[in-house]
Symmetry: C2
Subunit: 295 residues, 2 copies
Amino acid sequence: MPSKLIFGHISSVPIGTTFNLYKEMNEVGLHRSTMGGISGSGRTGADSIVISGGYEDDKDMGNVIIYTGQGGRNDSGKHVRDQELTRGNLALAISQKEGLPLRVIRGKDPKNKFAPAQGYRYDGLYRVESHWHEIGKSGFRVWRYRLEKIEDSSVLLENNFSTISPSEGNPHPERKSITTQRIVRDTKCSKELKKHYDYQCQVCNIRITTASGPYAEAAHIRPLGAPHNGPDTSDNILCLCPNHHVMFDLGAFSIQDDLKLIGIDGELLVKKGHEIAITHLKYHRDHYLDRIKAP
Amino acid sequence: MPSKLIFGHISSVPIGTTFNLYKEMNEVGLHRSTMGGISGSGRTGADSIVISGGYEDDKDMGNVIIYTGQGGRNDSGKHVRDQELTRGNLALAISQKEGLPLRVIRGKDPKNKFAPAQGYRYDGLYRVESHWHEIGKSGFRVWRYRLEKIEDSSVLLENNFSTISPSEGNPHPERKSITTQRIVRDTKCSKELKKHYDYQCQVCNIRITTASGPYAEAAHIRPLGAPHNGPDTSDNILCLCPNHHVMFDLGAFSIQDDLKLIGIDGELLVKKGHEIAITHLKYHRDHYLDRIKAP
């Protein structure tokens, strides 16, 4: 087992390689954990995961995977306590924050059409798009992660610009490894809301100006996409500066129904004509708010 | 001609459609300008451009295009004054800031292997990745833009999550239009620098904390990739909060050789062990610093 985590492809293991045993994946350095589904460290991030249908809440949509964290279960697999944002769960959250590529291995699972018929198969790199917590069917808290496939076509074919790729046999050895740390998405509705606030942050009231005009970001309170499926409507969007957008998405603060902030001091600025749905605020508090002391 | 700018594909014009005349592209709404290479507005952004070899500095690498702005030339096409960040040039800068998709049309150009043999061809959507200014061969300032192709595979096949696609004949009418406003890239070297600063912003000294650890972004002073080809070395990287990263990339401030800030008050925090190359600082000042009063 290598002593240092390797993020990205393992040069000797092409996508699609299959294995019969966990142990074999461990020996080639594909998945360093001999037991758990998450390989990684609560200090530097997660380098690989195995999806094998262990959690009924996992949802595999191919290029998008909703993955459940580890822990909180007793020896017979029954949920008996909350999952904590530690060890493998923290590792996956760090991978999101730092933009680290995650190797995804699918294990046999008759209920999952994307799973191999037997054994384990290396299915390439994903990025951790988001993480949140929720109360599982057993009544205890679980951590969940939305993983999105990193497409090979995202490789930019220039000398010193590429995503992480197998180092062995690389025809362009001068390439550097580049990953994506953060993607800010924009929608039609978010453009209108930013204009409504004249690009002023609803948390700190800062207005970033540049020669090409003011800059702000639109934050969906209840996120778009599975499994949240928040709407792209102005009652679900905030106009934030990039700093408060990052903090909101990573749960460093949330918002009460009376618009007071939780986690940081202050109150949300809301301009006339912008109605915020309190059900979406509750969704953010219930799933994103960091209830653990920040390190 | 439609009265409102349409960003993204035009439903009646598939990628690869060819035209003989400018006027024909105008009639179908593909390119609204009847003369200029840039269609758009200095208020809302650019919706399409034509590349046809008019500027010798343009560099077409297929999925990446370095495009030169408009203006500054006399009737015989000779550069006689600086280009300004107004009209089409400002429109392209706004497209970058807002993450708007840009239709790219290539015109006949024997010197460009990506150009059609005759007429004009619609080649799909690009995003404006960055813009800067430089002194052209004639001694006057030109504005330049790095355009990156938006790959179709970036479409996420989920109900309410997709990039902008032709609306006509869309089999999933419930899909929303989503574009990318901002992509933060990360490199091996940038991770180390962020740790060196313990994730503290070198401009405002803020340290954003979350349950999954502190968050910061690495900003390359002289950008990676063509045509800048800055190195991924610590003497070319700053550790910044997202707000100051956006401002630095959009030229709202720059840094003197003595580390005093230009455009905003203050001085860069530099910790022992981090040597910054002043040639890279000069590159940023010469190409990115906003020398125009911000609106």
